[in-house]
């Protein structure tokens, strides 16, 4: 089973996780810029974080045979902090990077006017840089937040086929499906979505435009729940090709729209702990 986790915050994870992920079949990840638990108080803290997402973290991943890409944005929560607003001016530098395959996570946290402004401005950047957009949906007031999210996406003029709306559940999946956006599901130990529930959603809504992620971060989460979902699919009668479509080909198709997804040299024997970028450094 080859796995592409389209949303995971590896910055918050250990090398043990990388080893376990590689052993479970994870060959590629996308790490969206989000918040780190501890609020940041100046733009420099974001620059250092973005540097890590396009520098150190891909290097760390490569040592376990895992290809790492990132999405870059000012997240909704910190968009409300006036000390962090300058981050919007910093984004163009990072959206030009080879390893950046989308603008994200953007969207709503508390649905404030500041969030409205940052969301719209960053969808415009996605259009300007010809990048897909990864949109987070709020934990509170999720159904109405999702509706409002889809309205803003429609107003921006971005092709809905270049947008993933993430952290969906049984209540919110339908409207995103109908809007033509990609549907993201974060499989968590006991909150957002579980493998058995995910299987039911796939039965009902099909496999097209479906992205399954672990969204593992600094909270209670599990980077191997992508694999568990694939196994639950097989147990429920889906074929190995269905699993490959959801866990590999779908994320490749979605992020491939950036024109920057680089999965070269990631063959069947990729997990040799020798990413090409390391060899290239002469190590």
């Amino acid at each position: 089973m080859r796995i592409f986790d389209p949303h995971i915050h590896m910055t918050s994870r250990t090398t043990d996780d990388y080893e376990a992920m590689a052993a479970a079949g994870v060959r590629a990840v996308v790490e969206p810029a989000f918040w780190l638990g501890q609020p940041r108080t100046n733009v420099g803290a974001f620059a250092d974080y973005f540097d890590s997402l396009v520098g150190w973290e891909p290097y760390r991943a490569s040592q376990f045979g895992i290809r790492h890409h990132a999405t870059i944005a000012l997240n909704p929560k910190e968009a409300n902090d006036p000390r962090c607003r300058e981050v919007l001016d910093l984004l163009p530098r990072y959206l030009a990077k080879d390893g950046v395959v989308a603008v994200g996570e953007i969207g709503y946290d508390s649905m404030t006017p500041e969030e409205d402004e940052a969301f719209a401005a960053q969808l415009a950047l996605a259009i300007e840089f010809a990048l897909p957009a990864m949109v987070h949906t709020p934990h509170r007031d999720k159904a109405r937040g999702t509706t409002r999210t889809l309205d803003v996406v429609a107003e921006s003029g971005i092709d809905p086929g270049r947008v993933v709306v993430d952290h969906l559940n049984e209540v919110t999946v339908g409207q995103v499906h109908d809007a033509g956006c990609w549907m993201g599901f974060s499989i968590y130990p006991d909150t957002k979505m579980s493998p058995p529930r995910m299987v039911e959603i796939l039965k009902e809504h099909g496999l097209a435009r479906m992205l399954v992620n672990s969204a593992a971060d600094w909270g209670r989460s599990d980077p191997l729940l992508t694999r568990a979902t694939g196994e639950a699919m097989l147990a429920a009668g889906f074929t190995a090709d269905d699993v490959d479509r959801v866990l590999w080909r779908n994320p490749v198709e979605f992020y491939g729209q950036s024109g920057r997804l680089d999965l070269s040299d990631l063959g069947e024997v990729a997990a040799t702990f020798e990413g090409s970028s390391i060899k290239r450094g002469g190590s």
Partner: protein
């Protein structure tokens, strides 16, 4: 390796995705230096990333990025090299480090080498030890050489290794080797060979026998 060599090597490189891009980008940077901020990170997507047969040690993206910096007006070179490094991903940082000896900036960019040598990314440490490392003071340079041995970076990346390695490097290498031996671990053959040359005088001549042609 000078800019003309790099340009010729790029022109001969197989499989360049967008052959017309570089000339246009170089002209634009010369006329409008601010444009380098977006062209510099995009270079790999347009010029490719493979090794350049005619420029050993260089990849296409590194050569294209180095040429973009060389195309800047002289008074902007140091500032833009610094910005390209500050906001660069690992490949961009590496390209800046390799471009430094080609730029009219004297020793101004030495702080970038210090930054690269502090990292734990072998690609950056290696790129910091090219010809521009002649501007590093001797204690810093020795520490960087030892760090290569420690991290498993081959000493062939160190420009002018035999000319510059001194008795103090031998003492430091001897110490590392002793610690490794005590721990039941090996020391890389190239480091042992250097130690041997330094302590026995074998092969240590002005010509050197490990001088790299990289960068």
């Amino acid at each position: 390796m000078d800019p003309d060599d790099l340009r010729a090597a790029l022109a001969d490189a197989p499989g360049v995705p967008d052959p017309g891009w570089l000339d246009e980008a170089l002209a634009r940077v010369a006329a409008e230096p601010d444009a380098v901020g977006r062209l510099f990170p995009a270079a790999g997507r347009h010029c490719g990333r493979g090794p350049l047969p005619a420029a050993p040690g260089w990849h296409a993206d590194e050569a294209a990025r180095a040429l973009l910096l060389c195309a800047l007006p002289a008074d902007r070179a140091a500032t833009e090299a610094e910005a390209g490094y500050r906001y660069g991903d690992a490949d961009e940082k590496r390209a800046v480090l390799k471009a430094l000896p080609l730029l009219p900036i004297g020793a101004q960019a030495v702080p970038l080498l210090h930054d690269a040598i502090r990292t734990n990314d072998t690609r950056l440490v290696a790129a910091a030890l090219g010809p521009y490392a002649r501007h590093l003071d001797q204690p810093t340079w020795r520490q960087a050489v030892l760090k290569c041995v420690f991290m498993g970076v081959p000493l062939s990346v160190v420009d002018g290794l035999d000319e510059r390695a001194d008795a103090e490097v031998a003492t430091m290498l001897g110490g590392l080797t002793e610690e490794r031996r005590a721990a039941g671990r090996d020391t890389a053959a190239d480091a042992l060979a250097l130690l041997d040359r330094l302590t026995t005088g074998g092969g240590t001549t002005a010509a050197g026998n490990t001088r790299t042609t990289e960068a």
